[in-house]
């Protein structure tokens, strides 16, 4: 069974096309990177795969599930790392609270169990921040905050990991640690879908790269896509 199947998906907002006939498959667990400029529809594509946006045409399958008909099934499989800009940093909140949020959906209504705390601590250990368990999130650097969000996604124990611009405003140490973690997860059979506006950010880690600008411009091995990307950039000049 394919991990992700996106078949001829078109998304429009108020008549404006955000995605146009996007088609691709992710067959085996790997690090799959979606690259494109701002407004290319990268986040929209992630949200459509999650069933949060209804495409005007085309269909999507996530491990055989239709995200529009079985959203719960799909979202149970996914650990999601949002853009940091979308967070409400006004909220007084500690690192442990954020990592435990990953367990909130699994647990349902009621208090967290010991297993939830163990899973959250384990996830924070993976990203190397267990010592910051009781620290305020606001006091952390951009890179550390990103790693905490990754830990939250890992605490879900996901089959698919989705990351939206995980390297934006991140220091080099955190960047390397995030990459190492993603590689490790991929080797353990987790499919990693990573979105970035900069192709250089993902070349080191990607097994497959897709260039997106409302429609798919290129898809394949990182080196081949980079060649296409460079030739396109040169011809534009």
């Amino acid at each position: 069974m394919k991990v992700i199947e996106v078949d001829s998906v078109t998304v429009k907002f108020n008549g404006r096309t955000a995605l146009e006939r996007v088609t691709f498959d992710i067959v085996t667990p790997k690090v799959f990177c979606i690259v494109g400029p701002n407004g290319a529809g990268k986040t929209t594509l992630l949200r459509t795969i999650l069933g949060l946006i209804k495409p005007v045409e085309g269909h999507i399958r996530v491990l055989g599930h239709d995200p529009l008909k079985e959203p719960k099934e799909v979202r149970k499989l996914v650990g999601y790392v949002p853009q940091r800009a979308s967070l409400n940093l006004e909220v007084p909140i500690l690192v442990k609270d954020i990592v435990l949020m990953g367990r909130a959906v699994k647990r349902g209504i009621g208090a967290f169990s010991k297993r939830d705390y163990d899973a959250a601590k384990e996830a924070l250990k993976i990203v190397g921040l267990l010592k910051l368990w009781s620290e305020p999130f606001r006091h952390l650097s951009g890179g550390q905050q990103q790693r905490v969000l990754l830990a939250r996604a890992l605490s879900v124990e996901p089959t698919i990991l989705m990351l939206d611009e995980p390297f934006a405003g991140v220091d080099s140490i955190s960047r390397t640690l995030i990459m190492d973690t993603l590689r490790k997860m991929s080797k353990q059979g987790v499919t990693v879908i990573l979105v970035s506006h900069d192709i250089n950010d993902v070349l080191e880690i990607a097994d497959e790269v897709m260039l997106l600008n409302k429609r798919v411009l290129a898809i394949g091995e990182p080196e081949k896509v980079l060649k296409y990307y460079l030739s396109r950039a040169i011809s534009k000049r």
Partner: protein
């Protein structure tokens, strides 16, 4: 025995204040953190309009306030879930609309001026046992719901997009929160009135948020500040013969400004366990360098 020392009306007033303070303080943390202060103000004023409309139609004022508030809470929930600039503007407009509606309705009920004034600024010294029972029941429901959905509300407050992506029913919890605000602003009509409800929803929570970085501690501090405002406000108002709700609102606002000044000018030194002026602290760091 206690009745001989403290008049019964004061015991009832204290009970009503404690219940109101605790409920608004807990709910306030979510209201302030999610930038729903305008929505809270709009709902508080709609409660007033609803109560006056109830009077005009010969229906129970609380029922009038609750009905109108529930309708508006659904509208606000619909608008605020997208949290776009346009929706913020519309919520602001609804605040203006609810105030205008309340003022217009108030002008129609000349014979009930005293009663209307009660809904505007509350009458905590005049609460009855039935009022307290009603207040306690709604507060108990609100606090129980907030506790039951504590982690979900916290997730949505911090990261609404992430919560949605990871399978939380954001729409349900958002509507639930708005309905809770509608319920609490309705019950506060009797104690602190529609105008002061907004202050009690916002000021203690905003003060607590300035002091702590932990959500749990912020809730606890918000309750403490809210209770402190209520007791100090009630004491000062009784001593100086001022309006109770007005004094409570003034104390709550003053506590916010004083805390803001202290937080801006001083920093807590963990070593010496004292508040040290920021300037001296930066000089200490320079010396060490």
């Amino acid at each position: 025995m206690i009745e001989e020392l403290i008049p019964l009306f004061l015991i009832r007033a204290i009970m009503a204040s404690v219940i109101t303070s605790i409920t608004t303080a807990i709910l306030g943390i979510y209201v302030v953190s999610r930038n729903l202060s305008s929505a809270g103000a709009a709902l508080a004023h709609t409660a007033l309009a609803g109560a006056v409309l109830g009077h005009l139609l010969g229906v129970d004022p609380y029922l009038g306030a609750l009905s109108m508030n529930l309708v508006l809470s659904i509208v606000i929930a619909n608008l605020s879930i997208s949290s776009t600039r346009e929706s913020e503007a519309v919520i602001g407009l609804l605040f203006g609309f609810s105030t205008a509606l309340a003022v217009t309705l108030v002008s129609l009920v000349k014979e009930y001026v005293v009663v209307v004034w009660t809904y505007l600024i509350g009458d905590v010294l005049g609460v009855t046992l039935t009022d307290i029972l009603f207040l306690a029941s709604v507060s108990l429901i609100t606090i129980n719901v907030l506790m039951l959905c504590y982690k979900e509300f916290k997730f949505i407050t911090f990261d609404i997009e992430g919560a949605r992506a990871m399978g939380l029913n954001v729409t349900f919890y958002h509507f639930l929160m708005t309905v809770l605000i509608a319920l609490v602003t309705t019950i506060c009509l009797r104690t602190v009135g529609s105008i002061l409800t907004t202050v009690l929803l916002v000021a203690p929570a905003a003060t607590a948020r300035k002091i702590t970085h932990s959500f749990e501690k912020a809730i606890a501090l918000s309750i403490i500040v809210s209770l402190l405002s209520s007791f100090m406000g009630m004491y000062v108002s009784l001593q100086l013969n001022l309006t109770v709700s007005g004094t409570i609102g003034l104390v709550a606002s003053l506590l916010y400004f004083i805390t803001g000044y202290i937080v801006a000018k001083f920093k807590y030194c963990k070593k010496c366990r004292l508040l040290i002026p920021q300037q001296r602290l930066s000089l200490k760091v320079k010396d060490r360098d």
